[in-house]
């Protein structure tokens, strides 16, 4: 491993520029970058590769460390949150300290935003890489800080996702605390009626999981309880839970799985006639009504139901300018993914119970994805459900005539004919909206997508991982999913949390403040400026035989914000990995040309 005491001439920088398929190289001139960077001071080698993150790309770096004595690495590629860890691991495998590396983002912050100016993009990339070289030259080897981890996971939300995550975590020998705000576990599956694809009663699924949970000594359940604060960090989260009786429990957890689910979409008054008539129902309400209705005829509130219309995408796949905005001023652009299948599954259930009821289905697209769900559509056709396809930018009109509900729509399937049909009941295929969890996402500082669901670090490369170390999400808190998909994501979250907690201590990034004791005068300004009491204190130390007052940083308590750095007139306190002098050197490189 290299050490802090290398002189400038001994620092050998390798620069690795990624094409990212064509994502970067279609805009920036990679050859020009490599040519110019290879001439830059301290750079011993500059290479490019089609996918730097692939195992071949990583091997380029590893081989150069081993064969050419490269001891400082700059990778210019996509955003660091995707592959910083990949490259750190590769560097470590080759025997170099993994922090002797700087990552420059030339995809999200160069090629993708300067498509119209390839020359400008190339020049910018070159300057940023040079700035990266300057930074890494001043980088010291660092060692991860190891903190003891609580062998316990907090699961927020006791729907099917939370329950699955709890059972899987306990199967891995990890203690579980579930906090559910409602009286019972089960979430949206605490309802009457059946579910696809297993054709089971929703509550039967809930009961199966509840039994496992309530009989497992490793799992503690809080129902009708609320989380009122979360502090701490990975391995050591501090959680305050307010119970039904008003008492507060404090618990500690090493990791957290957010499984707060979704809210049912509620149409505004009058949206497709909702609340204008008792016979306009949301899908959820209709499923429950149907499961309670028996006999030879379908009767609701004294009226015999001979015909029912279904309308897809209510509250989902909305368009600005066509649909009314939600409370935040935006429309729900996403597809709720379950309402097509659940709706058609429910039409089949209706036809099995009351074969004489005529069913008309107005859709934009049918998204009954998955092998088993596709057959539901075929069965519906055999049941004589009549399908009408509306244009994407048009909405069916609903009017009321006597006790009839009139649907008017354009039908693409009959060559854009305007059609009118009268029905006795109308069912709106309402989907999902993100649940209101500003409190939880606020305590944990979680990222949300533009659709307001929680956002994973990367849906393909790092699914279920949140932007905060040690926090995972499962099920419909992430995006609309059916039960099968929710269970899968919950299982993934439980496994990732179990892997994290499998060691008694967790490595933390070493990006905390450090004190140069020789320079420090013990003035205490940093202590006053620090945001966290106890993170930096003044102590007495014997240095060269003399007792001296100096600042001392507690690395487990320092959050690495750097507030202290700004106020030290001696430049005696600095941030590991983000030294003030490193940024100054970067700026010098940026202004140089």
């Amino acid at each position: 491993m290299s050490d802090n005491n290398l002189n400038e001439a001994q620092k050998r920088v390798g620069v690795y520029v990624c094409h990212c398929g064509g994502n970067i190289s279609d805009v920036v001139d990679i050859k020009k970058i490599v040519d110019e960077i290879s001439k830059y001071h301290s750079v011993v080698v500059a290479r490019d590769y089609v996918f730097m993150c692939s195992s071949n790309g990583q091997s380029l770096i590893e081989d150069d460390i081993k064969n050419m004595g490269i001891n400082r690495i700059v990778v210019a590629a996509c955003m660091p949150s995707l592959h910083e860890l990949t490259f750190r691991n590769a560097i470590q495998r080759a025997g170099l300290n993994p922090y002797l590396y700087e990552h420059i983002n030339i995809r999200e912050q160069v090629s993708w935003v300067h498509k119209d100016n390839p020359q400008g993009a190339t020049s910018k990339a070159i300057l940023l890489i040079k700035a990266g070289v300057e930074k890494v030259l001043m980088q010291d080897p660092l060692n991860a800080i190891r903190v003891n981890a609580e062998h316990r996971v907090l699961i927020i939300g006791g729907g099917i996702s939370g329950m699955r995550a709890a059972v899987s975590s306990a199967d891995n020998g990890i203690e579980v605390v579930i906090v559910e705000k409602e009286k019972k576990l089960g979430g949206k599956l605490n309802r009457d009626g059946y579910v696809y694809p297993s054709d089971e009663k929703a509550v039967d699924i809930v009961n199966k999981f509840s039994k496992k949970i309530l009989s497992n000594p490793l799992i503690k359940v809080y129902t009708e309880s609320e989380i009122i604060n979360i502090g701490g960090y990975v391995g050591n989260f501090d959680i305050k839970i307010k119970k039904t009786d008003g008492d507060i429990d404090n618990i500690k957890a090493g990791s957290i799985i957010v499984a707060t689910g979704f809210d049912h979409y509620m149409p505004y008054d009058g949206e497709y006639g909702y609340k204008k008539s008792d016979y306009v129902l949301r899908l959820k309400e209709f499923i429950e009504l149907l499961s309670k209705s028996d006999g030879l005829e379908f009767v609701f509130k004294g009226k015999k139901i001979n015909s029912i219309g279904f309308i897809h995408c209510v509250g989902s796949r909305q368009n600005e300018g066509i649909d009314a905005p939600q409370a935040d001023g935006k429309v729900n652009e996403y597809c709720s993914r379950v309402c097509c299948t659940s709706g058609i599954y429910t039409m089949n259930k209706l036809k099995e119970k009351f074969p004489d009821v005529n069913v008309y289905d107005v859709y934009a697209d049918i998204r009954t994805y998955g092998m088993e769900s596709e057959s539901l559509y075929e069965i519906a056709s055999k049941h004589d459900v009549i399908f009408f396809r509306r244009p994407l930018d048009e909405r069916p009109q609903i009017t009321f005539e006597g006790d009839k509900i009139k649907i008017t729509t354009t039908d693409i399937l009959s060559f854009n004919e305007r059609l009118e049909m009268e029905v006795d009941m109308l069912v709106l295929l309402t989907g999902m909206k993100p649940s209101e969890i500003d409190d939880i996402s606020g305590y944990l500082k979680l990222s949300k997508s533009t659709n307001r669901f929680l956002q994973e670090v990367h849906p393909k490369l790092r699914p279920v991982e949140m932007n905060i170390n040690g926090v995972f999400a499962a099920g419909t808190s992430l995006s609309p999913m059916d039960i099968t998909e929710s269970l899968q994501s919950a299982q993934t979250a439980a496994m990732k949390s179990a892997i994290l907690l499998s060691n008694p201590d967790i490595p933390l990034d070493p990006f905390v403040a450090v004190v140069d004791e020789e320079r420090c005068t013990g003035c205490g300004r940093c202590v006053e400026e620090c945001l966290y009491s106890g993170a930096v204190t003044i102590t007495e130390k014997t240095i060269d035989g003399n007792i001296k007052k100096v600042a001392y940083v507690n690395p487990a308590m320092c959050k690495g914000c750097g507030a202290c750095v700004a106020v030290c007139s001696e430049r005696a306190i600095d941030l590991n990995g983000s030294r003030l002098s490193q940024f100054e050197a970067m700026i010098d490189a940026i202004v140089k040309e």
């Binding site: 498509k115 507030a563 700004a566 983000s578 010098d588």
Partner: protein, 128 residues
């Protein structure tokens, strides 16, 4: 190089908030001028007042500090930062550097429009 004579804008972006915000702009493939240089920091609260003055003296034309605002994981950092920037403005006035060239703002992980607006405002100022 064509860029040589162009004024350079330094963007100070935070790990937690505005740096991912800048990535969100990239993911949406929204274009902005290429004389913009983003440096990634834990929090701009780490920079002493002289850091800004020196950057201007070195040749940076405009600085946009994209702080995390209410999303900031370091409670109290913004208050300290804005106090610091007030002092920088005083120094800038003393040195006859237009205070418009330093902008303190907050950008969240999905604030794409605000990010673009800050850049186009600063472009206008530095091209004056």
């Amino acid at each position: 190089m064509q860029q040589n004579n162009k004024s350079k804008i330094l963007i100070i972006a935070t790990n937690h908030s505005s740096y991912p915000g800048a990535n969100a702009v990239g993911q949406a493939h929204i274009s902005y001028p290429s004389n913009t240089y983003i440096i990634r920091v834990p929090d701009p609260v780490m920079f002493p007042e002289d850091f800004y003055i020196n950057s201007f003296k070195k040749g940076i034309s405009g600085i946009i500090i994209m702080s995390s605002g209410s999303d900031c994981p370091y409670e109290g950092a913004y208050k300290r930062l804005s106090k610091r920037i007030e002092n920088v403005y005083i120094k800038m006035k003393e040195l006859n550097i237009s205070t418009e060239r330093l902008r303190l703002t907050t950008i969240c992980t999905v604030c794409r429009e605000a990010f673009i607006k800050e850049i186009s405002d600063m472009e206008r100022i530095v091209s004056k």
